[in-house]
Subunit: 292 residues, 2 copies
């Protein structure tokens, strides 16, 4: 028997993910703050849910895909939240990117009621969501992970069970740390090339073949050369994720000296009004640091 | 007619490179500070040169592969240096990694005597030198580049003519910037995973599939997991290259805020006695930053 799925949060990421679940044949109940995406999904075959508790009550597995930690806390544990409707034996999967500590607290609250919870944040952006090509980093029990695997397989390509509750969020934080710091490194290198009077496109090409090679140099390096900063993944959202990284590092006494500088650059870019640029737009913030 | 090649500097990189030139059929005259490597190359078919001027006088093309800027300045422009022996129409190729400004100054001095000079620093390390698989980043004229191409093809796989004199050194500086900053980012992420109680090997695996993926995460991330810091490329040498990056940035008013932090970490590692570790040993320096 196919699981009945609830899906809460039909934003840039959530809407295409919900569509992929419908396409994979799942019975879907959806709910979101904006009516438009709900209407679209209902037109495509989903059932309309009125609030998170009702969605959870109608579902074997309830998925959330929301912007930030407080949103997830409200939808899962607030009034008429998932925890009020979900029945023992059901499963909650939070695919948002939020604080690992908050994830563990919520998972414990669900666990006390006999409800399993997985944290399963993703990377790959809107493109990956549309193409069902997301990387999914999962925290939680083996049993819950196996139960959720058909869902993950309908949404993503690289699916890694990283560890117990919170481990998915820690992996996502690590991902966002490495991605932002690598973007900054590539920006600093290509700006150094430019200001040295050297063709930065040739430097990118020379570096791609060796140890400096990365997805970021390939994709975001090209965006910097083209001065093409339409998102993609917005600086504003990476700044949000940087806060999660900083809090996770602080909670575990982990030194992150280079990332701390990168997080400051992200904040400066937001302050300068560039929060809606793609995160490769860290290049613009770097250019701004010196008036030549 | 095959060019007669002079090769000065038979260190960890220079010796296998000189061997590859011999294997490719070039007529080779060699010189180095230590007698051992010279004896080895002579046994393999090279001619012994007594000083840089003599090597240059006997060669159509003279290659230098030396540790640092002052070494190159001494060998090229010092007493009994290459400039005293090289004849007009000959070519000098400096494959060391040195300051782009110093390179341009020396190239101008050679140019004034009718001698072309290329800067052609490499990446790929001892393994790349042995396997003739180096990445070679070249600065200088088109004519000189074309003349040197058969030599580069005997030494490397990725050969990019980046631009005029100094452009190769700028590209190498950019390479060393990106490599060190990416190593630091990976170290911060994997330490964050560990200290969060999450399996860092699984985090590495999860990240490799997405935008955080890089050669550094793949190779040096594994070294960090294994606590295996035998060089490879030594922290001490990367610290030297970091100075070149910092000087190039300073000379061009290029902001490098993240790399500045990484350079400080490299210096701290050297100060702590870890200069002979592989540069992935930045992980050790990071662990040391907090006493837990």
């Amino acid at each position: 028997m196919v699981d009945r799925i609830g899906f809460i949060g039909l934003g840039i990421m959530g809407k295409p993910m919900a569509r992929n679940l419908l396409a994979a044949g799942f019975d879907l109940t959806v709910q979101s703050r904006s009516a438009g995406p709900v209407d679209e999904l209902v037109a495509a075959g989903a059932t309309r849910g009125s609030d998170p508790a009702e969605v959870a009550a109608a579902s074997d597995i309830t998925i959330t895909m929301l912007p930030d930690t407080p949103d997830v806390e409200l939808v899962l544990a607030g009034p008429r939240g998932v925890i009020e409707g979900a029945v023992p034996g059901s499963l909650v999967i939070d695919m948002s990117s939020i604080d690992p500590g908050a994830t563990r607290t919520m998972a414990a609250a669900f666990d006390a009621r006999g409800i399993a919870m997985l944290d399963a944040p993703v990377s790959g952006g809107e493109r990956g969501a549309i193409d069902a090509a997301l990387s999914i980093m999962v925290g939680g029990s083996d049993v819950a992970f196996r139960r959720a695997t058909p869902i993950f397989e309908a949404l993503g390509k690289s699916i890694v069970h990283v560890g117990p509750s919170g481990a998915g969020q820690v992996a996502k934080a690590c991902n966002q740390l490495v991605v932002a710091a690598t973007i900054e490194a590539v920006a600093e290198a290509l700006l150094l090339a430019e200001r040295s009077g050297v063709d930065a496109a040739k430097v990118r090409a020379a570096l791609l073949g060796g140890f400096a090679g990365s997805k970021i140099l390939e994709v975001h390096g090209q965006r910097m050369l083209d001065r093409s900063f339409a998102p993609g993944f917005r600086i504003r959202l990476h700044r949000k994720d940087a806060r999660i990284v900083e809090e996770a590092a602080s909670a575990t006494s982990t030194p992150i000296p280079a990332f701390t500088v990168v997080a400051r650059q992200l904040q400066r870019a937001v302050d300068a009004g560039d929060g809606e640029l793609d995160h490769s737009g860290l290049f613009v913030e770097l250019e701004r640091l010196t008036s030549r």
